[in-house]
């Protein structure tokens, strides 16, 4: 009796586990399947759950005769630029805030923390006016600048945590050996924060890569436009026809690199995510 109950329990538990996995994975699976079907396989009352019949036609539609390649390049440029700039500025600031004597430290940390929580929409109008004033509307530089609003505070905040976690003795040893604070940062501390930099950079990159509101509002042409607004507006040959197959193909193209990155850096991302939100 007790044994049956045990197995029943186990069985129910694993059923739940299977449900969670299917629930998490199925929508993406369905997008991938849909992207490999011809339109005849999509617009049918009885769609196959495998990519049958199989075709690469949707992927061709995404790239041939469209600006999608350009959009991808823009995304790479903007997300990469914002990440790199945030990391460089962020490392310097985080070292000062986490390690050096700096009287207004708490005030600065509060500003940074409140900015990580800042609603982007609240500065949309002001940023629009600003970008027009400095002539950066509809430029890569303008978009990168606007992304600093969320990538920079995030980077600083998480890196301060990493710097604080390093043992005091390392620094003292460096000082005793006659190193200046700058040398200590570059030669001793920075190499140790390497893993932290990778994680932080990755999370900042993902946030910038996925950003929609600013990309939608601060770009007007495909020369600058990034992938998220491009996908949102992916049109068909006529306004009445929504090319779901191509939209799914484009979706898969932008998502696969992210999914791969996330799976490869799984442990670190989970640690970084919780550091950014819970532990601060």
């Amino acid at each position: 009796m007790k044994r049956t109950l045990f197995w029943l329990n186990r069985g129910l538990f694993y059923l739940l586990v299977v449900f969670v996995v299917v629930y998490s994975v199925f929508p993406f699976y369905w997008a991938v399947i849909s992207s490999f079907k011809p339109s005849s396989g999509l617009f049918t009352p009885d769609p196959s759950f495998l990519p049958i019949p199989f075709t690469l036609e949707q992927y061709r539609n995404v790239f041939v005769g469209t600006a999608f390649g350009r959009n991808l390049l823009n995304s790479l440029l903007v997300a990469g630029g914002a990440t790199l700039l945030s990391l460089v500025l962020g490392v310097l600031a985080a070292y000062a805030l986490g390690r050096l004597r700096f009287p207004p430290k708490n005030a600065v940390l509060y500003i940074v923390l409140s900015m990580t929580m800042f609603p982007q929409i609240a500065v949309l109008g002001g940023f629009f006016v600003l970008l027009r004033q400095v002539g950066l509307f509809n430029t890569h530089a303008g978009l990168i600048l606007s992304y600093m609003l969320f990538t920079l505070p995030f980077t600083v905040w998480v890196l301060v945590g990493y710097f604080r976690g390093l043992p005091r003795e390392l620094e003292e040893a460096a000082y005793v050996d006659g190193a200046t604070p700058v040398q200590t940062l570059l030669r001793v501390m920075l190499p140790l924060t390497g893993p932290g930099l990778v994680t932080t950079g990755l999370l900042a990159f993902i946030a910038a890569w996925n950003e929609f509101l600013f990309a939608l509002t601060f770009t007007v042409s495909d020369v600058v436009r990034t992938v998220p607004p491009a996908i949102a507006f992916f049109g068909g040959a006529t306004p009445y026809e929504i090319p779901w197959g191509s939209i799914m193909a484009a979706s898969v193209v932008v998502t696969v690199p992210l999914v791969v990155l996330v799976l490869v850096f799984q442990q670190r991302i989970v640690a970084g995510l919780t550091a950014g939100a819970v532990k601060g």
Binding site: F28, L97, M117, L213
Partner: protein
């Protein structure tokens, strides 16, 4: 002497970040406050006209603003509470030791990694009124008596969008709560077991009370996120009044209607609403971090 040099160096290192912060946050924010007292178009073609509190007075009487606020509240309350319950359930599942837990953790990272715009498009396709897989499966299994136009019927639009948000964001919630669960010492459960407490009792007397700090932070964090929701709504149903949230309504006024004055007033209103939660958030995590 050395201290003074350290302070000077610290200033030097922090300065670039501070300058960027002033430029990308301080200045635009000041602009928003400034223009909220003006009648102006966003291209600033016509000379702006100072109107005092007129934009704010209009906001208080604007039924569309009220509707957007109500949509935002509905979205926030439902998505955050469902995500919390589901997230906690998934966190508990992963936290219990079993073979394949790594697989589950990997699986739930997928929705998190997918861009919001993409997840909105994926679900739009799955919710398609004729060819969507949800309708196909639903009718086949007899759950739906006939195919449903989820994204065309006003009463179903918001629930459908909430379902999409729940799918996308529950993993994040689960990971935050999992981190909280892992901080609870195992000995407490061992002691409780010896004293004869059931699993259920252990959950209510050990897990939940000790998880509360993590739960509170996660809740506030998600609430802030939900209050400013834009992407999923805009991609799935555009500016439809049935789902238009504050952020969507704000952008519509600023960009579509080019109304810098009134749009800025809405921005200030959003700031005030989120400010309360920001303070709560900073108080709950700031104190520990700023020791």
């Amino acid at each position: 002497m050395l201290v003074q040099r350290q302070v000077r160096l610290a200033w030097l290192l922090v300065l670039p970040t501070l300058l960027v912060v002033v430029f990308v946050a301080g200045y635009p924010l000041a602009q928003v406050f400034y223009w909220s007292f003006y009648k102006a178009d966003i291209a600033l073609v016509d000379p702006p006209e100072f109107v005092g509190f007129e934009n704010y007075l209009f906001l208080l009487r604007d039924p569309d603003f009220r509707e957007a606020l109500w949509n935002t509240v509905k979205f926030t309350v439902f998505s955050v509470s469902i995500e919390t319950v589901l997230g906690l359930a998934i966190a508990l599942i992963i936290h219990s030791n079993f073979r394949g837990r790594g697989l589950v953790r990997t699986a739930i990272l997928i929705p998190w990694a997918i861009p919001t715009v993409v997840s909105a498009k994926m679900w739009q396709w799955m919710l398609n009124d004729v060819y969507g897989v949800i309708n196909v499966i639903g009718v086949k299994l007899g759950i739906l008596s006939q195919k449903v136009a989820f994204l065309a019927r006003p009463e179903l639009m918001l629930p459908a969008i909430i379902a999409v948000d729940v799918w996308k964001t529950t993993p994040f919630m689960a990971l935050l709560l999992l981190a909280g669960l892992q901080l609870i010492p195992e000995e407490l459960y061992e002691a409780a077991s010896i004293d004869g407490a059931t699993r259920w009792q252990q959950f209510w007397t050990i897990t939940l009370p000790l998880l509360t700090p993590a739960l509170v932070v996660a809740l506030i964090f998600r609430t802030l996120d939900a209050l400013r929701v834009f992407d999923v709504i805009y991609v799935m149903t555009g500016v439809n009044p049935a789902t238009r949230t504050l952020a969507v309504y704000n952008r519509q006024n600023l960009i579509d209607f080019q109304d810098l004055g009134y749009g800025s007033a809405i921005s200030v209103a959003i700031l005030i609403i989120t400010f309360v939660f920001v303070i709560l958030y900073m108080r709950s995590i700031g104190r520990e971090a700023l020791r």
